[in-house]
Amino acid sequence: MKYATDYGYEIKPVYGPADVQELDYARDLGDPGQFPYTRGYHANGYRSRLWTRRMTAGLGSSRDANRVLKKYREMGQTGGLCVIHDRPSSSCIDADHPIARRENGVLGWPGSSLHEFEELMEDIPLTGQSITLLGCCAPSALRLAYVVALAEKRGIDIHAVHGSVTESPFSNPFGQTDLQPFDLDMKLFLDSSEYILRNRIRMRTGLVGQHFQESGGNNAQVLAIELSMLKEVVSRLVNERGIEFDDVMRLPYQLVSIGTRFFEEIAKVRALRRMWARMAKERFGAKSEKSCQLLIAVHTSGRTMTYQQPLNNIVRCAIQTLAGAAAGCTAIDNATLDNAHAEPSPLAALMSLNTQHIVAVETGVADVTDPLAGSYFVERLTNEVEAAGYRILAEIDARGGLVAAIASGYVEAMLKEEANRKFRELEAKERLVVGVNHLAIAPEEEPFRIPVQEVEASDAEAIAERVAAWKKTRDLARVEASLRRLHADAGRGDRFNLMPAIIDAVKGYATAGEVIGVIRLARGLKYDPFDMIRCPFRLN
């Protein structure tokens, strides 16, 4: 067994005052609500507002996902909904694309048009709960357009809607490839961000450190990645789009992965709050205290959910949820007991949501703010992960920031080495996982066979057929006219914001493949990333 954190800090058998003698309460911790916000942003913690307890939905057709969302509401998910795109729509190719036909509705919702979003949200309010839509950067601008368009159709003021439907372009190198070139993703990300900020829409954008960590990164690395993502994105919005820093900070939230090493995970989140608060003040000259308070949501770690003896995952999930709660996050969406098999079954979803409800109301963790503050061990861990994170951040900075560090291969190499190291540690039994390399049992002796949700090939094909037929029912002249405008706008350079033209096209029911395809054409790319279909519209 190894007594060390995943970033290599050797853990001692006992901690005492000497381990935190440098710690200055006012400088390094502060009361909850006080800079540097190590202890959180609200003096009353969860007594003012519990974290949003939610499950990620999305599997099968839009109507299937709609039914699941309604079910989750019955299960007590009323604070906010969370839906993830399927693979084709994450990549902005339409359901009737030859490559998509076998993957529609797999691992997510086939959200490639406003029509699908309308079905997803049927009889579900856009307001009174946060609306979170996940799944790669490329469709972000589309998702924002869906929300704007549906709010308008329902006669709701867009400013009454809150949530997060856009995502940074940094998921691509971390296992969430969306087929689009980085510069296009970045442009669309900046356009959607600027649109949100200038129109004072209450929408956040996700900087998803979770993807990096779930691809194998360690806790110190992920802090460095999360901070350098923030730096890169915020700097671009300030410098390239001319938005004040304190306005920009209404936008980002971090989606952080939380694993089973309880104390280390809590330390990581506390360190992230402190590191951002200092960066906001020192690097960006924050004038508003709000800008120093990074919104942090938690996804409990899917990669720790084992294929073997899946019921054990309920326990892992509970420990991780408790860590997320003790760390003081804003929202948690949970992994599920069947995470290594498929998308959540109704049973798995119920267990995961109930895990959150039990942690929230039965354990007492929500009664007290930052309950582990002052623990010699947790404060030391917070300092250690922060120091290790700063060292990696300096390496990234020395390479010219995150975009340059990714382009040079530095980040990929770091991630790869770390994933290999984790694998070797399991092989050598330096880390034990029950049911996998410790107390394993033969597959035929599994005591319980969990129900598994699946999408069949015929379901995927049915989604494709339906989209192909629906496309012909649209007002094609209207679609073509809006795409022609979008094509023209997309030729006006990176600073020209495409959101108005995208919203117009989406309202006319142009699809993700068409919208992104036309923008691609204007940028000298093929309409279709696979070059299998041609643009069906006359653009000039």
Binding site: R102, A340, A419
Partner: protein, 135 residues
Amino acid sequence: MTQGRGVKVLVSMIGLDSHTTGAQVVATLLRDAGFEVVYLGVNQTPEMIVNAALQEDVDVIGISSHASNFSLIEELMRRVRQNGLADVPVVCGGNIPPNQLDRLKALGIARFFPPGSPGSAIIEYLAAQGRGTDA
């Protein structure tokens, strides 16, 4: 390590799945064990995988799958047979639900390695699949 010497393995993702960590860890494991590894990466269609297997004259095809839609693997198996590669075992690793396994085995999948499989088991099995051309 020399267990894999003379054995050429193709490792690929299939379809739009981009959960590459498992495939990359296995590719490294195999290279370190002396195998010759052709890693195709993401966005590979069954047709592209079979073409690469033919061109590279591999001994084994390894597919990484993350709760995917298994019809892509079905199509791969069909193309493997059509292209005279029936003697090239196709091995899958990743998150494949138990109830899909019987179906895939019936289609001729040689072996399935679930998450958490020991590296030694993967190496041992693949080392035995070499056709001995230069071993």
